[in-house]
Structures are given as C-alpha cells and as structure tokens.
Amino acid sequence: MCIQTVGLIQAAIERAGIITVSISLLHEVTDVLRPPRALFVPYKLGFPLGEPNNAALQHRIIGAALSLLSRSDVPVLEDFQA
C-alpha cells in the first residue's frame, strides 16, 4: 500500500505548487495511479534505495529521480538502469 500512499501524498503536494518526484517499487500500481513523476527501481519491497549502507547506489538512484524534475510531460514513470 506504500506505493499508492506515496502517490496520493505526492499529488497533494504537487497541487500545492511544489514539484515532486517519488520512487516506485511496484510498476503496476504506479502505472494505474499516475503520480506526476516516479522512478521505478528493480528492488524488493522495503528497499526503495537499493541497499542499506550503500551510499553510492543510493546517490545514483536519487540522482536519476531528481533528473525527472525537469519533466512536465506527466505522468512520467522511468525505469532505473541498475
């Protein structure tokens, strides 16, 4: 349910005029919900930024997500290239 909850909060924030991007762990849920910008990562539930204590991987994922902020062709759902 976390993925839907994130998307619904994201929509409320974006409606307040603040640009948002989220991480998704379930492609099918994000596809249906259509939050403005999301990066799908190929990790199991509980591991949205890849691996614990792996700052380099976490930074790569965050960087890929932040790069979606320039997109206004919403909804954007990109796959992270691990």
Binding site: A12, I13, I18, V21, L49, I62
Partner: protein, 156 residues
C-alpha cells in the same frame, strides 16, 4: 511474495484512486538553489513521538514531523506490515528516508537548502479517504508555507 498479499494486489481497486488530471507544478529555479523536503511512508518517528497505530483497520493516516537536525539512525520504525522485509531499513534508515544522502547533496552544493522539517507517514492505508481529504493536504500546506520547492518521496 506471500499468497495473501498477491491476492490483495489482484483484487484491490487501485484504479479507484487514479489521478485524473495528473497535477503538474513547475520547478521555478535551478535545483542548486531549491529548498528540498523529504516525505517517507516508512512509518518512521523520533523517540519522543508516539508511534503509528498499526491496528487501525483502514490504516493510520496521521503523520509525524521529522526535524532536519535529527540523527538519522535514532529514528524508530513503527511500521508492522508483514508485506516487506524490514531488515534493510533497520540496518540503514536512509534506505527509505535518505536524509544523510540529501545532506551530502547539500554539502556539495547540488541542492540549495534542506527544509527544517520532513514528514513521515505509515504507508499501510487501505482506505485513503482521510489521507486524501485531510492529512496529505495538511502536509502540502506546511511545505508550501515553509517555501519548499521540491519534495522527494520514498515508499518502503
């Protein structure tokens, strides 16, 4: 994935909450001058805060404010969902609430500022009526009042 969860995923009416139209704000300034806030649904709270209520049938739509000054490793995970492996977040809160990573981005000058507060929800919300009508807009309003430009959201 456990069978109960697979069946749930198959029958839950996700389409009911599909966003239409999709909201779209604009980044009015470069990221290296933007104020950033984090939002997680990992059910994290500080040791001084009351934990989330995992026993509410429809889910706990409340939220906690996490001060930007918090020591990340002291955050408590009160999310009891059995649908995911908790070991990663217990080993490193940054996995679902990347506060230390964003501090590093700020130190490198890649983002303009960290907001003085961030927000935590517990994601297991089966009936999101209160989330949609009340608590998510409250958080959005606080972020707007804080002058936040960018929100980065992580599930768990």
């Amino acid at each position: 994935m456990i069978l109960k969860y697979r069946l749930f995923m198959k029958f839950y009416p996700f389409a009911r909450y599909a966003l239409n139209p999709v909201p779209c704000a604009k980044l009015a300034k470069p990221l290296n001058t933007a104020r950033v806030a984090l939002v997680t649904t990992a059910g994290l709270d500080t040791p001084e805060q009351a934990g989330f209520d995992s026993f509410l049938k429809d889910g706990d739509a409340s939220f906690r404010e996490i001060p930007n000054t918090v020591t990340t490793s002291t955050l408590i995970e009160s999310h009891i969902s059995d649908t995911f492996d908790h070991s990663g977040v217990l080993a490193d809160r940054n996995l679902a609430f990347p506060l230390d990573r964003f501090r590093e981005l700020f130190a490198r000058g890649e983002i303009g500022a960290m907001n003085h507060r961030h927000f935590s929800f517990m994601g297991s919300i089966l009936r999101p009526k209160r989330l949609i009508a009340e608590t998510a807009p409250q958080v959005a309003e606080r972020l707007r009042a804080d002058g936040v430009d960018v929100a980065f959201l992580t599930p768990v």
